[in-house]
Symmetry: C2
Subunit: 241 residues, 2 copies
């Protein structure tokens, strides 16, 4: 691929650790990265601010945020007022579909990414799903990603008229959380810019502090522990909150 005129790729970017590493991998693979975030009725805009920082620091060619109010349809602790589970062990986190599952979320996100890819003339879509996630979320499994590729060629004008094949690239798919932290270090990603927590708290000073006890925080901290590193973001003192 020419370094002067890199091919475009679309990269889904939540602002979390995984998508930040995914974006860096897309850049390392030689693509001009068009980062795509969603404002989908999240309870916290903190995620979108992290996405903006990550896109900028990661050298994205472009970053757009699509408003998509899935809250209208209900069904998840991330968009509804259901309680986010706390202090579960890894076996509990891995068992079944979690209440934080947003119905058909990755299908919706990949579909919008596909639309943007078609506008850009891109054929590659990066998504930061991984081995830990797909134990609980059906739309993180490899067979789901392959089915989406099959759909993409049938769904688009590029596929119908030029036989274009789309690739869904999931470079973190087989990595553990520790492997993702290591990959971040290898690619020079500043994980201090990322946000992971489902239930963050804003300290009176304005600093965002992660809870440390939701499933997402537990998996993140496990990743750092696996490689013997310290997470640079701030966590709550439960007594202070």
């Amino acid at each position: 691929m020419s370094e002067m005129n890199p091919q475009p790729a679309v990269c889904l970017l939540s602002g979390g650790m995984d998508s930040a590493v995914c974006l860096a991998q897309a850049r390392a693979d030689g693509f001009a990265v068009h980062a795509l975030s969603f404002s989908y009725g999240q309870r916290h805009q903190v995620e979108l601010e992290a996405a903006r920082r990550v896109a900028q620091a990661g050298g994205a060619a472009d970053h757009r945020t699509v408003e998509l109010n899935l809250r209208t349809l209900g069904g998840s602790a991330l968009t509804d007022d259901l309680e986010v589970p706390k202090a579960r062990d890894e076996a509990q986190i891995g068992a079944g579909v979690p209440v934080t599952y947003v119905p058909a979320r990755n299908t919706v996100f990949l579909s919008v990414a596909l639309g943007w890819a078609e506008v850009l003339g891109a054929r590659d879509i990066y998504i930061g799903v991984n081995a830990v996630d797909y134990s609980g979320y059906p739309d993180c499994r490899p067979e789901f990603l392959r089915a989406f590729e099959a759909l993409a060629s049938l769904a688009t004008a590029a596929g119908a008229e030029q036989g274009a094949q789309f690739r869904v690239r999931a470079p973190l798919l087989d990595l553990t959380k520790g492997g993702i932290v290591q990959r971040a270090f290898d690619l020079g990603v500043d994980l201090g810019l990322t946000h992971t927590c489902y239930d963050p708290w804003v300290h009176p000073s304005g600093e965002v502090r992660s809870c440390g006890t939701c499933d997402a925080c537990i998996l993140r901290l496990k990743g750092f522990a696996e490689v013997g590193a310290i997470d640079p973001i701030s966590y709550c003192d439960p007594q202070e909150r």
Copy 2:
């Protein structure tokens, strides 16, 4: 299916003639219809007002509108400021992908419908695509709809945990525009409530008038002509506009 406790189905509802007939067909098939519309950066809110009227008149159990600002990504005369083509003949309308094509639109719409279906416990999704549309829009073809069904079972918790199969029902697929108008009459759909035009004009009186010359108007009028009926909606006098 019990008339007392009808199964839920999700029906995509644009406010146009086709989706109005599709909703009526879903009701006639015995479903409790959950109608789903999108506010996706349309140039005209007229469509959404029509969707609201159609859902109410058609006896939908529920009607929700999801905000989805695809305009952020560009690429279509329906969401951008590209010019809507006028006064084309049927051969021109049928040739190639039209500029009014919104990239991956039906993929995005079906994905959100799938998410709602999962929340509702529904397995059936109705979409009003038809034989005329799929000549130009890749995501109106039967092979696209089958690929989406395959994806849906892999994408969802219901599919992963209970082996649920989703059905994308496209009852207008093989109908001509004339056939759709006839079906509307057979099912008692008031086509005067629907809106089709890509480029409507609001008369100083407040009445919405369709242009009569965009591709959508041409196909609609052809449908009425085929069955020897008069379209009840208002059209512009070009000299007055």
